[in-house]
Subunit: 627 residues, 2 copies
């Protein structure tokens, strides 16, 4: 075991390096790093089991800095471990450096991006749960939390779940340095205020002086020996510890020290300390679940019973989980509405109930994919807005998570607006490289569920509550980025473009228009992002640039905007009449509400009629594509 | 005092009416209503102080159904109180009815929309805080919570804050009926699991049998007598209580009873019970703060020091708060970054620190406006995504809340992507009648802050971290829905449209283009929603439909999409080259990052040059407006 004096020196050197990092960057959070330096020194010297040469070793412990702003400390640990060079260390926060202001998985030793507070612990719950119930390996998950972030409800969702689940492989270290960004925290050095709450949720808790090496050592040993429940080490620390300029001094958050040299001198001018972090003892391999690769995708007959896309999602996911052992379902206690319960029935060991806690729901999914499981997280689309920051950060983590939101739009009917997602397409489109799908039929839904399992990054599927007729034969292909032309003829005068519930309204509108002698092309835009530019361009050309888009969504940022955006810079730009939800809906039947907000078949037909009457909006036959 | 027998009968009748409501609607949540019927019977008969004829009486207690799905119970209370007729009662969940599936303020006695779980209690914290520290009136805030929603972190943010704030006027009633939507809750009937956590946060807690009238009575008296801390009554109840079909029976969530008549018979066929709810004893009037109406709006000189729009926001809000006594600032512990701390310095009694708890931040703001205060809630724009569901629900509540998000986009620099809002414009645009502002200059910011105080509904202002040159003279007017033309001449060949940091890049690009003999119109699109269609149409006409939009945001749903959307259905549609953030940024200087992601002056100039080279995209001089 590395001796006390070396550990003490390491604690000082981690402070010094944190100061140096911020000094070279002229920004950053050295004081938030210094408070946790001793806690991390003992951890890296004696307790962490991590092979820095093989970050993909499944037996590695996980160390998550929930207080991501303490990145100087994290990078100082990497320096001390020999994972990065002094030269790279000095690139901290510089353009092109892997050592960003807050940690991201651009670094191979970082599991997830942090920096939005309160996310590391709930993601840690996901990693620890994967360790126990999926990988079935003895690695531990260590999470360093700040005291400011203990005000985030997401932390307490994690505490509640970890306690309930009895995750003995999860150890939270709370760096109670008393000072937040602009002043004292709510509970300052009242360690009990944290420990008592965690205890009430079933945690083992230990309160210590976070600068007492022996106390830290004892706490980690105690945590490692604790069975059947997670451990929270609540450590009283000094922000900016060890330097007179900053030690427990207010107004020192998020800034380099004014006199780094003096501080480094006060810290003993400790030279670089190199630590060989211990490698995992376990050489186990992750558990693999038995599957039946021949399990077929569900099939729905055209002309059969109407099937809601949420139901088809549930059927398809259950089949996929039987076919592929990496698939994991994460529920927000609505599995009888999202039909995630079918996966619970089919593969109970790969179904996780996160109850009504959407942040923990998303965080668990992110944690599972850290360990290369393929999570599908599902709840009502409206309630995914509760986890938007977690999805935003998952994008920065380049996490692969499939998300399904059910009960989209006013077509849910009687439950009223609180349950109606009317902003989810905009929400998920506006996230970098996200994928957004909106199926209209059960066979299509099933095919897209299979596809989602292989889409990198965040993929989102919007489904409807109402049962809808089956439009496509089983076995038809639906590539991501595609669209389907459901009605088409040489003389099409207008294109009706929609997806989901309102696509079926568009089909009715096309029938009505046909009776009047108006030929309408109908496009099923099941892939909202990416879009099928070819099919759209062809439709624009054929119809003389006359488009009606229809969506059960607010007018901004959804399906219609996606179509309009696609042609923004095109040579020939169709005229697009966007039909969307015009006003705040109430309760009613789906049909009443769809008509009330202006997205029913008659509104579509009316808009199409007016557009046709105007004549072509671009010369018919002129290409509308990007050049 | 209304006698025990009447209260007991009321409890049964509230069950019966809940069953009747769901039966007539053929949907809804009668069993979740029945569990809390006795709790609400005792409350309405003896403890609630509410004048149903004068819902605006400032002395009224507040009753918030955090478990909004128990709307049958709430409406049964209104029926028993004589607030609604039997005829209206039977319109439950029908199209056009005020009695929607989940409560909304369409009803004058409902403070806020609920139905997204975990929101009523944090909003109740806001109302109670308004009562104690703003109105300074003795009304109480009663919040009925379900046990399922106790899994939401937002509930525990509220518990933490209410305990910390010592809100003795807040009483939470937890209806622990053990059963969630698809099965047992995490903690089932473990009342301690809730009470111990609340106690650890400083609450007075009382555990009772929620069907024992005497125990309920004692608990309310105890709560009313409790000083210096909030009270949580944790009540063990039976879901579907009192009817053999449903009493503590699984699988009965969210559905009408199969045999309502039998259940009503089992409940004693109690006839309608009419209760005169007691009116408030207090006749106090809300506290009013002394102000100096002559406090001037801050002024910034053109050519003076560069000023960040977040700083101007802070200056302007502090001045506004000194001028108007209804203004309240709500901080997420970043007031030294958002400059909300200037309001703290100027008007400390109207500044509220909600710490790092963005859901409680937004909920407090919603609670304040329930009592007609005008809240400004501010944090980093990126972290507003944490509260998106609260903003979504605030739209349904038709709440008036001004929201400021700072540190937008890659131009924040070194802190990296976790701190960069790149989706906030899309997020806030996609919310019904929201207003979205994005100022480019400090005088403009100050004027828009003043305007926000009078904008109904949700208004959002995006500000930048970086200091920017002052473009406008003090005193210039900036109507919401307006835009400013900063460069314009008769021969403009292209329009550069932007706001915030990148508007200044557009100005640089225009200078560079001018040197090459290309005349570019520059438009400051400070109001993203609503848009100034007139200025945009004129620019399209003048430039032959050649637009370059630039934004420090993902490409979807932001400023560029707003412009493209505005012309979707226009007779003449400009060609719009949208410049936006192309890939996940890292750390670096603002200038490095802006150029890395393709939104710098040289990218703008290049796009403009290419567009000009193409020639006009619509006939110059042809109107581009809607017809």
């Amino acid at each position: 075991m590395i001796d006390d004096e070396t550990v003490r020196q390491l604690g000082l050197r981690l402070r010094i390096d944190s100061i140096r990092a911020a000094a070279t960057a002229n920004s950053g959070h050295p004081t938030s790093s210094m408070s946790a330096a001793d806690l991390m020194a003992v951890l890296m010297a004696r307790h962490l089991r991590y092979d820095f040469d093989a970050p993909e070793n499944p037996n590695n412990d996980h160390l998550i800095f929930s207080k991501g702003h303490a990145s100087p400390l994290l990078y100082s640990i990497y320096l001390a471990a020999g994972a990065i060079t002094e030269e790279e260390f000095l690139t901290y926060r510089k353009f092109g450096s892997r050592l960003q202001g807050h940690p991201t998985p651009v670094l191979p030793w970082v599991d997830v991006a942090t920096g939005s507070l309160g996310q590391g612990l709930p993601i840690g719950v996901g990693v620890a749960l994967a360790g126990r119930d999926l990988d079935r390996l003895p690695y531990r998950t260590w999470v360093l939390c700040g005291d400011s972030e203990m005000a985030e409800g997401s932390i307490w969702e994690a505490v509640d779940h970890a306690g309930y689940l009895g995750l003995e492989n999860l150890i939270a270290i709370i760096d109670v340095n008393r000072l937040g960004q602009r002043g004292p925290t709510m509970h300052q050095w009242d360690l009990d205020s944290y420990a008592n709450r965690a205890q009430a949720s079933g945690w083992h808790t230990i309160e210590i002086d976070g600068h007492d090496i022996d106390a830290i050592e004892d706490a980690y040993r105690d945590a490692e020996a604790t069975e059947g429940r997670p451990t929270m080490i609540v450590a009283k620390t000094h922000k900016g510890s060890g330097a007179s300029e900053t030690d427990n001094v207010e107004g020192k958050h998020g800034q380099p020290l004014k006199d780094p040299e003096k501080a480094i001198h006060e810290l003993g001018d400790i030279p670089p300390v190199h630590i060989q972090v211990q490698k995992p003892e376990s050489t186990g391999i992750p558990h693999r679940f038995e599957v039946d690769p021949s399990t077929p995708r569900p099939r729905y007959e055209v002309g059969g019973d109407a099937v809601a896309t949420r139901r088809a999602f549930g059927d398809a996911l259950a089949a996929l989980a039987q076919r592929r052992g990496d698939i994991v379902a994460v529920d927000g206690e609505v599995g009888n509405s999202t039909f995630l319960e079918l996966t619970d029935q089919a593969e109970p060991e790969r179904y996780f109930e996160m109850y009504i806690a959407e942040q923990q729901l998303m965080a668990a999914a992110v944690g599972f994919q850290v360990r290369h499981w393929t999570p599908f997280a599902a709840t009502f689309a409206a309630f995914l807005s509760r986890a938007y920051d977690f999805v935003r950060m998952a994008v920065i983590s380049q996490a692969k998570v499939a998300i399904m939101g059910s009960h989209a739009g006013v077509s849910i009917g009687e439950d009223g607006p609180s349950q109606m997602a009317l902003e989810d397409l905009a929400e998920f489109r506006a996230l970098g490289t996200s994928t957004v799908l909106y199926p209209s039929d059960p066979n299509q839904t099933a095919a897209l569920v299979d596809a989602m399992a292989d889409i990198p990054g965040i993929s989102y599927m919007r489904t409807t509550r109402a049962a809808l007729p089956t439009l496509y034969e089983p076995g038809e292909e639906f590539p991501v980025g595609g669209a389907k032309v459901l009605r088409s003829s040489a003389g099409d005068q207008v294109a009706l473009i929609s997806a989901g519930y309102t696509l079926h309204e568009a089909l009715k509108a096309a029938d009505a228009l046909a009776e009047e002698g108006i030929s309408a092309r109908v496009i099923d835009l099941y892939s909202i992002k990416p879009l099928d530019l070819e099919i759209l361009a062809a439709a624009s050309t054929a119809t003389g640039g006359r488009f009606v888009t229809v969506e059960d969504h607010w007018p901004e940022g959804g399906l219609g905007s996606a179509v309009v955006d696609a042609f923004a810079d095109a040579d020939a730009r169709p005229r697009v009449v966007k039909l969307a939800v015009t006003h705040l809906p109430g309760s009613g039947t789906p049909d009443q509400l769809v008509n009330d907000v202006g997205i029913g078949a008659r509104h579509i037909a009316e808009a199409a009629r007016e557009l046709v009457a105007r004549g072509p909006q671009i010369p018919v036959g002129v290409g509308a594509g990007q050049d």
